[in-house]
């Protein structure tokens, strides 16, 4: 049997941390393992395959060509979904055209991602109305593993 791929390991870690950190709240900058932001969650997940991974802000992850490769086709489990800062179509439709912060999370299947959301670590089923219509990009971790 083939060993699990890095993506499968990352998705499994995100699933585990959904439970482990289910009580955590959103806080930026991060305060502790019980109060942190979206890029901290991704850092926690990637550390499970690379304990030396340095935490990067969401925009830095999207720009890091050494450790993250853009995914051009459909995302797979373990890929990172990145929502750049910008307007949210759901809000624009309701008259609010301001920009919202960027966000980063882990895809655990083609139709779900897990991340530190405004309400805490949670699973988001997509396509949903708030996240999925946003501009989004996918990245695959290609950095070292151990």
């Amino acid at each position: 049997m083939l060993p699990p791929s890095t993506g499968a390991k990352l998705a499994a870690s995100a699933e585990n941390f959904l439970i482990t950190y289910g009580e955590a709240r959103y806080a930026s900058p991060p305060v502790s393992d019980r109060a942190f932001d979206c890029s901290y969650f991704v850092w926690l997940v990637i550390r499970t395959v690379n304990p030396h991974f340095d935490r990067e802000a969401s925009g830095a992850i999207a720009a890091d060509r050494l450790r993250f490769q853009p995914v051009l086709g459909a995302p797979e489990a373990g890929d990172i979904v990145y929502f750049p800062p910008g307007p949210v179509p759901y809000e624009v439709k309701k008259g609010r055209k301001g920009n919202y912060p960027g966000h980063v999370a882990i895809m655990v299947s083609a139709s779900e991602f897990i991340g530190m959301q405004s309400s805490g670590v949670g699973r988001v089923h997509v396509p949903d109305t708030w996240w999925w219509p946003r501009t989004k990009e996918f990245y695959r971790y290609i950095g070292p593993t151990q």
Partner: protein, 156 residues
């Protein structure tokens, strides 16, 4: 004769420091079956946004249903295998926990006395949402760009 006031002052300082030192983040969640005050039909009666200017609150009137083993969350999913891990946190600590994340319009809704129930809406393998149950059939549903003030129907 001045001893008593001095002691009272010291006690006051001690209580104040002790309360401030409480790590509310460390209060664990339990009781995943939820509590009766959570269950029933809840309706969005107000949108709590950081900047509501120009925003049409079309979500007002949206209904949630929370039942012991299922829930319907129009902003997330309908779940047939629900749980509600929760914890009671002192009302005066809610803004400390969620202050940077809650809109200012939520602040006045948080009771400063007594406790608030901080609950996750969990389905199968983990949480998908979060609700602060304020008591008196009032609650705040935490969402992304804004939060929703929801009220429970008197006859669920």
């Amino acid at each position: 004769m001045k001893l008593a006031p001095t002691i009272a002052f010291l006690v006051g300082i001690s209580a104040s420091v002790g309360n401030a030192a409480v790590n509310v983040d460390a209060i664990p969640m339990g009781n995943p079956q939820g509590t009766p005050e959570m269950f029933g039909t809840w309706t969005v009666t107000k949108v709590l946004c950081r900047d509501c200017a120009g925003r049409r609150p079309e979500e007002v009137g949206t209904k949630f249903t929370f039942a012991p083993t299922s829930f319907t969350d129009p902003f997330s999913i309908t779940c047939a295998n629900a749980s509600y891990p929760n914890r009671a946190i002192p009302g005066d600590q809610v803004m400390k926990l969620f202050g940077s994340n809650l809109p200012k319009s939520a602040k006045n809704l948080i009771p400063q006395k007594g406790s608030v129930i901080d609950a996750r809406l969990a389905c199968d393998k983990g949480p998908v949402g979060r609700v602060l149950f304020l008591g008196d059939d009032k609650a705040i549903y935490l969402y992304e760009g804004e939060d929703y003030f929801i009220e429970r129907a008197k006859t669920p």
